[in-house]
């Protein structure tokens, strides 16, 4: 293969090292993937048999040891809905600012650093903050509203960075043409840029919601209830929620049947992973349809 090389033994040694090295790295990757697969298989294999129509639509009974998880599912839907309502307009507007308006100066850098920091703050610290400001200072009490505000601020960085990336991917020429035809900057953004980047923005929104739906620590202190005999009737009520419910039945209820725990885990996992799957579908469809 390498006739010009003076020391073939050295070359073969190098090739041997390369083969061994690649082998080790392949094993490392395998050992990273297999546990993830095992986690998914375990939860689905143990949890799916627990799911029935009753499990999804009934209230918990017998001290949560039997019955269903309906109030927790509904609570998570409520929380995710209000979080969307609060975070999405703000997040997209912030992304539009960073992509379309922001000058390249110190303030813009500070905004970016602030976003990176928001993304890194531990979820329990968001919980503390939400408790301090929304529950106590603004007197929302432990409520869906307080929890949704907390989750909204937590998901904001995800939405902003993904949406900004999508906006930036729209070719500059689209904007130039629109402006040259007499459109204002806002008209250009609204009719051209936002439309073209919609799939990317949606991906960001869903990724943010995925995070909001699965989080426990922030709602633990701001809006989640251990057990409620009735469904919440207004955003000022506390609510049960799937992640917190799983925590409660795993740690706080003695004699809990493991079936119900796995069932709850699988419902939560399906909810979150289907959001994940949705982003993948949106992305691949958008790529196929893209006009540039």
């Amino acid at each position: 293969m390498n006739p010009a090389h003076p020391r073939p033994s050295n070359a073969s040694r190098r090739n041997l090292i390369q083969t061994a090295g690649f082998g080790v790295l392949s094993l490392v990757a395998l050992f990273t993937v297999v546990p993830i697969l095992l986690i998914l298989i375990t939860i689905f294999a143990q949890g799916l048999p627990a799911i029935s129509w009753e499990f999804l639509t009934a209230f918990p009974t017998d001290g949560m040891r039997a019955g269903g998880v309906f109030p927790a599912i509904l609570g998570t839907v409520y929380l995710t809905f209000f979080t969307t309502l609060l975070a999405v307009p703000l997040g997209i507007a912030a992304a539009v600012y960073l992509s379309e308006y922001a000058p390249d100066n110190l303030w813009t850098r500070i905004i970016r650093i602030a976003i990176i920091n928001l993304a890194g703050i531990p979820s329990i610290v968001y919980g503390l903050f939400g408790l301090g400001i929304f529950v106590i200072f603004f007197k929302f009490g432990t409520s869906i509203l307080a929890a949704s505000f907390t989750l909204a601020i937590m998901t904001l960085p995800t939405i902003i960075s993904t949406a900004e990336e999508a906006l930036r991917a729209v070719p500059q020429s689209f904007r130039v043409v629109s402006i040259s035809l007499g459109a204002t900057q806002w008209q250009t953004i609204r009719h051209i840029v936002l439309g073209q980047s919609l799939p990317g923005i949606l991906t960001g929104v869903i990724l943010g919601l995925e995070r909001a739906a699965g989080e426990t620590a922030p709602i633990l202190l701001t809006g989640a209830a251990f057990y409620l005999p009735a469904l919440p009737t207004s955003p000022m009520d506390a609510t049960m929620a799937l992640p917190y419910h799983l925590y409660v039945i795993s740690t706080q209820v003695p004699g809990m049947p493991v079936q119900v725990q796995y069932g709850t885990a699988v419902v939560l996992l399906i909810l979150v992973l289907s959001l994940n799957l949705l982003t993948t579908i949106i992305r691949s469809r958008a790529r196929a349809r893209r006009q540039w």
Binding site: L25, T32, I36, I43, A94, I111, P122, S123, Q261
Partner: protein, 299 residues
């Protein structure tokens, strides 16, 4: 007439968008202010020496933070031993070695791991991992720092893989071509050229991964046994511990608003906030520097 209405609308919308853009700064500031407001009274209520003692027993007014800090550090360092080799190794595999089809499968798959809620991992740790560790190591309980470290390792791997893989991927093609043209094998190119070129990005990836681990709450609360004991040696890895995050989550529900215990829990929150601030400031300065350098190379 429409022209005038339009400029008016345009100004309004631009103002709204600009305000939204600046909101991130506002939120970081407000979070900091509220943590300080509720947490700083600690310094007036608890002598500094007591805070740095090794006994956490709030019912009798012992507020020593060392066991909690020690617990967080032990679990985080333990998770690093898992996450760094596997995370960086997988990133190298994906960026440099894997064929295209494997890359297309691996990347979304590891993203799935990032999407699994931490409470689900905590639950699985309790029912599936801790009992096995107990039998395997012949210890009284499997709910230990080790169980926490293993799971946190798993939680930080997706962060490390995705950031490190980006860093490796952004090393210019020409660097690799030059090394290969000089007769280096692909393996030598990876170790001597690509990895050193992506060094800062890989270090950032590790920092962000560990930052994620130290802030993780639900998983560690569920699997580490919740015993606020100061870890004094490495053997503590197989005994129960308690982290800063788990302490806040476990105790905040039971304290009276405005009590000393309440203030101390917020004080722990300030500590966590500052840790994440430092980690992310360093990481973002690296990212900005890299972007600048990339622009220089391109121009």
């Amino acid at each position: 007439m429409p022209k005038r209405a339009q400029t008016w609308l345009e100004t309004l919308i631009t103002a709204v968008i600009k305000t939204s853009g600046y909101s991130a700064i506002l939120f970081v500031a407000v979070i900091f202010i509220f943590l300080m407001r509720e947490g700083l009274p600690t310094l007036a209520e608890v002598p500094l020496g007591d805070l740095f003692s090794s006994r956490w027993y709030p019912i009798e007014d012992y507020y020593g933070l060392l066991p909690l800090i020690g617990g967080s550090l032990l679990v985080t360092l333990g998770s690093a031993l898992v996450a760094v080799p596997f995370g960086v190794g997988t990133a190298i595999f994906i960026a440099e070695i894997a064929p295209r089809w494997a890359r297309e499968i691996l990347k979304p798959f590891i993203e799935i791991m990032a999407g699994i809620p931490s409470v689900v991992l905590g639950f699985l740790g309790m029912v599936a991992i801790a009992p096995r560790l107990r039998i395997l190591l012949d210890i009284p309980t499997g709910l230990t720092a080790l169980a926490g470290a293993l799971l946190l390792g798993g939680i930080s791997i997706p962060t490390i893989v995705s950031v490190a893989e980006d860093a490796l991927d952004s090393v210019p093609r020409s660097y690799r071509d030059a090394a290969l043209a000089l007769g280096a094998t692909r393996w030598q190119t990876i170790w001597k050229v690509t990895l050193p070129a992506a060094r800062t990005g890989v270090i950032t990836a590790i920092m962000l991964g560990l930052g994620r681990a130290i802030g993780e709450t639900m998983t560690v609360m569920m699997v580490t046994g919740n015993a606020p004991v100061l870890p004094r040696s490495l053997a503590a890895i197989i005994s129960p511990i308690r982290t800063m995050t788990a302490t806040i989550a476990a105790e905040m529900g039971e304290v009276a608003v405005g009590s000393t215990h309440y203030h101390v829990l917020f004080f722990i929150g300030i500590t966590l906030f500052i840790i994440s601030l430092v980690v992310n400031l360093i990481a973002s300065s690296v990212i900005f520097r890299q972007r600048k350098r990339a622009e220089r190379i391109l121009s």
